[in-house]
């Protein structure tokens, strides 16, 4: 299933456009975070307490992860919508549901049994 949908997604221009925009967004966020962190680190050098609290995880990694999170939030609906639209356009969406529903239903049943046990 994943292989099939990935093939649809990877050959779509919109996926690469969204990925490029996301890369720009995350890259710009990273550069800004580095810039801010280096500017801040110069000013806290004189203050021991502030220097101890000045953490690269909070200053660089967290904003970067925030940017990634935002990008995935924007990219994922575009990618999923494209795959569903293609399956609908080719009229394979409903047969696909029929083909896969049994397996998903049985796996859901197994999981719910495991959780309830």
């Amino acid at each position: 299933m994943l292989r099939r949908e990935l093939a649809i997604v990877m050959r779509a221009r919109i996926t690469w456009l969204a990925a490029a925009l996301s890369a720009l967004l995350v890259g710009h966020g990273f550069v800004l975070a580095i810039d801010l962190y280096s500017a801040g680190s110069r000013s806290v050098l004189s203050n021991t307490l502030a220097a101890r609290e000045f953490d690269p995880l909070a200053g660089i990694v967290r904003p970067l992860l925030g940017g990634l999170y935002l990008s995935v939030s924007l990219l994922a609906p575009l990618v999923a919508a494209r795959a569903i639209a293609i399956e609908k356009e080719r009229r394979t969406f409903r047969p696909l549901l029929l083909q896969t529903a049994r397996r998903w239903a049985s796996s859901l049943r197994k999981r719910s049994r495991r959780w309830s046990a």
């Binding site: 299933m1 292989r3 099939r4 394979t92 029929l98 083909q99 049994r102």
Partner: protein, 241 residues
């Protein structure tokens, strides 16, 4: 183990496309639906598959009502007439997908692949294939299944005579293995070759259902072809209306 369709009625917009159609499908049986364009063949199959919601009637499997997608997915496998595999996906991925969700033994799946001549197309993408090749992939997905009922909408339309013989044999083998096949077929000669029973639809209503001999008897045309029987029954129905 049988699929019962009782008094199925379906509408598209305000138009009643299928009206009070009933049929029973037993294991090993090949029931072919024939009719003129617009007779309601595809809509009837869509109703059985749950792609179009019936406005009346009931579908049961072994006496239990079949209503939800999950219930249908346990018993039905299908090939719609107008579906095309996504052009971006390779044949190999499509075959693997069908095998994974079909739940048949690997040797059965490989046998069907071989019979449909799909092994040599493995590396190609669906978009690079001819219409006939794409239909064979769709047919593979429908036949590569352990589900007891296989619904095929116009499965014979795009094949040359040699391929057609192979595909008819394959369908007969699936039926002999215990599957029930519900087919819509446009060409009467093809329907005659494969059907164990035939349902004739006209303007959404079932004109007749039975074996070819039963239909011949009903039309008063012993030894006649299905086409002659169909035209005779249609003429009578239109004259009576």
């Amino acid at each position: 183990m049988s699929l019962d369709v009782q008094r199925l009625t379906m509408t598209r917009g305000r138009r009643r496309v299928v009206e009070d159609v009933s049929l029973t499908l037993s294991p090993g049986e090949i029931l072919v639906v024939v009719g003129a364009n617009g007779a309601g063949k595809t809509t009837l199959l869509d109703g059985v598959l749950g792609f179009v919601r019936p406005t009346g009637g009931r579908i049961t499997w072994n006496g239990a009502a079949v209503r939800t997608l999950g219930e249908r997915a346990r018993i039905l496998s299908c090939m719609p007439d107008d579906a095309d595999p996504p052009a971006e996906v390779t044949v190999e991925a499509l075959l693997a997908f069908a095998r994974r969700f079909g739940g048949v033994a690997p040797e059965v799946a490989s046998g069907i692949e071989e019979r449909l001549g799909l092994a040599k197309l493995r590396k190609a993408r669906a978009g690079e294939l001819s219409r006939g090749e794409r239909r064979r992939i769709q047919l593979h997905a429908a036949l590569c299944t352990s589900r007891p009922v296989i619904v095929l909408d116009e499965p014979l339309g795009t094949f040359d005579p040699l391929q057609l013989l192979g595909i008819l044999d394959l369908l007969r083998e699936r039926a002999a293995a215990g599957a029930s096949l519900l087919l819509s077929v446009h060409q009467m000669a093809d329907a005659e070759k494969i059907a164990s029973r035939i349902l004739i639809l006209d303007e959404g209503r079932a004109l007749a259902i039975g074996t070819l001999d039963e239909l011949r008897e009903r039309a008063g045309a012993p030894g006649a072809s299905l086409e002659t029987v169909f035209l005779e029954l249609l003429r009578r129905a239109r004259a009576a209306a």
